[in-house]
C-alpha cells in the first residue's frame, strides 16, 4: 500500500521558483522570531539526540561534560522535549509531504554519475562527520546561524556564512568527480 502510494510519478513536478520559496521561508522565519523570540535550526536537534543518547548510556560521563550538559537541561524534562527537536520532526514531515505532492518521494541515492553508490555513502557519511565539527565549533549551522543570524545581522553568523561559502568553493574543485 505505502509503496504504491509513494511510487514515482511519470514526471515529477518541476521545482518552485527559488525566490518564491525564499520569500516563503523568510516569512516562516519572521513568524518564528515574532512568536518565539528565536530563530529556526537543525543541528541543535541532532545534538539533543546525541546528548540524550550518551546520557542514557553513561549518565555520569555525560553529566561531567559541559557540552552535553548544555543540551540536557536540569533533568526535570526530557532533553528531547525540546523546541528544535519538534521543529526538526516537522521538517521531516514537511519535506515528505512536499515530496509526495510533487511525485519526488521515492527510495533513491543522489550522486554524480561517475561514482558508485558505495562511494557516495562513504562520502555522505564522512561529509556529515566533518560538517558536525564545523557546526559545533561555529555554534550553529546553515539554519541556526546563516539564516537566523543572517536576518538578525549577527556578526558571528555572517562570519560563519561567508567562510562556509569560501570553504565549499575552495574544496569543490578537489571533489568535482563526486558531482560532475
Amino acid at each position: 500500500m505505502l509503496s504504491s502510494f509513494i511510487l514515482k510519478k511519470e514526471h515529477p513536478a518541476p521545482y518552485w521558483n527559488p525566490y518564491v520559496c525564499g520569500i516563503g521561508l523568510g516569512l516562516v522565519l519572521l513568524l518564528t522570531f515574532l512568536v518565539m523570540g528565536r530563530g529556526i535550526g537543525a543541528s541543535g536537534a541532532m545534538t539533543s539526540v546525541v546528548a540524550s543518547g550518551v546520557n542514557s548510556v553513561a549518565e555520569s560521563h555525560a553529566q561531567a561534560n559541559d557540552f552535553y550538559k548544555g543540551y540536557l537541561g536540569d533533568g526535570t524534562v526530557s532533553p528531547l522535549k525540546d523546541w528544535l527537536v519538534f521543529e526538526v520532526l516537522g521538517v521531516l514531515i514537511g519535506g515528505f509531504i512536499s515530496g509526495i505532492l510533487a511525485g519526488r518521494t521515492k527510495v533513491k541515492v543522489e550522486k554524480g554519475s561517475s561514482i558508485s553508490t558505495k562511494t557516495r555513502f562513504f562520502f555522505a557519511f564522512t561529509g556529515g562527520i566533518i560538517m558536525a565539527f564545523g557546526t559545533k565549533l561555529a555554534r550553529g549551522c546553515t539554519s541556526g546561524q546563516a539564516l537566523t543570524g543572517g536576518a538578525l545581522m549577527n556578526v558571528g553568523s555572517w562570519i560563519f556564512m561567508i567562510s562556509l561559502f569560501a570553504g565549499a568553493y575552495a574544496m569543490a574543485w578537489f571533489v568535482r568527480r563526486l558531482w560532475i
Binding site: 521561508l25 522570531f33 543572517g150
Partner: protein
C-alpha cells in the same frame, strides 16, 4: 499584543512545541519545493550551474530582515528580546570553513539532509548518521577543544552595534547587496546553461 509572544508569556510551553512542529513542516516544505532536498542541486551551487542555494537563502534572509525591521519599528516585536548567538570570531570562522568542506563532500547541510532523507534519499540518511557520529566525536573531544571553542569572544553583537550605524541603513545595504548577488547569479546560470 507584543512580540515575542512566548517570551512575553502569551503562549505556553506545550503550545510552543506544537508551533515548533508547524514551523518545521513549513520549513521542510519550502526546502523540498525549491529542490534543496537534492544533493546534486545543492552541490551545483559550487560549480556555478545552479545557484538555487544562494538565491533561496538570501531571499529568505532579506525577507526576514526587512520584516524584523518594520515589526521593531512599529513596536510589534521587541527585537532586543530575540535570542542572539554570541560571536566567537575565530571558532566561527574556522567552523564555517570546516562546515563548507563537509557540505561539498557530503552534499547536504543539516536541515537539507533531513529533507533528503524524508523524501527517500538513502544518502541523506547516511549524511544524518555521519553528523550524529561527528557530534558524538565532538562531544567526546570537547574537553580538548573547549579552549579553542571559547576563544576570541566579542559577545552578543549585531552589525548595528559593530559598525555603529542605524539598522535601516544596514538593511538597505544588505538588501542591495543581495539584489546585486541575484543579478550576478542569473548571469552565471545563463552562461553555464547555454554552454552545456
Amino acid at each position: 499584543m507584543n512580540g515575542p509572544f512566548y517570551i512575553n508569556g502569551w503562549i505556553g510551553d506545550e503550545a510552543s512545541l506544537i508551533f515548533a512542529l508547524v514551523i518545521g513542516i513549513a520549513f521542510g516544505f519550502f526546502l523540498e519545493r525549491a529542490g534543496l532536498g537534492n544533493a546534486k542541486k545543492l552541490a551545483a551551487q559550487f560549480y556555478g550551474t545552479d545557484l538555487t542555494v544562494f538565491k533561496m537563502m538570501f531571499t529568505a534572509i532579506i525577507t526576514a530582515m526587512i520584516g524584523l525591521f518594520w515589526l521593531n519599528h512599529f513596536e510589534i516585536l521587541q527585537l532586543e528580546l530575540v535570542y542572539l548567538t554570541p560571536t566567537y570570531v575565530v571558532p566561527q570562522l574556522v567552523g564555517g570553513l570546516i562546515f563548507g568542506v563537509g557540505f561539498i563532500i557530503g552534499g547536504y547541510c543539516p536541515g537539507t539532509s533531513c529533507v533528503a532523507g524524508a523524501t527517500g534519499s538513502l544518502d541523506g540518511w547516511t549524511n544524518v548518521l555521519g553528523m550524529l557520529t561527528g557530534i558524538l566525536l565532538f562531544g567526546e573531544l570537547y574537553p580538548a577543544v573547549e579552549g579553542f571553542y571559547n576563544a576570541t569572544p566579542i559577545g552578543n553583537i549585531t552589525f548595528t552595534k559593530y559598525f555603529n550605524l542605524p539598522s535601516g541603513i544596514l538593511v538597505f545595504i544588505l538588501v542591495m547587496t543581495a539584489l546585486a548577488g541575484f543579478w550576478v547569479s542569473e548571469k552565471i546560470e545563463s552562461k553555464t546553461t547555454t554552454k552545456s
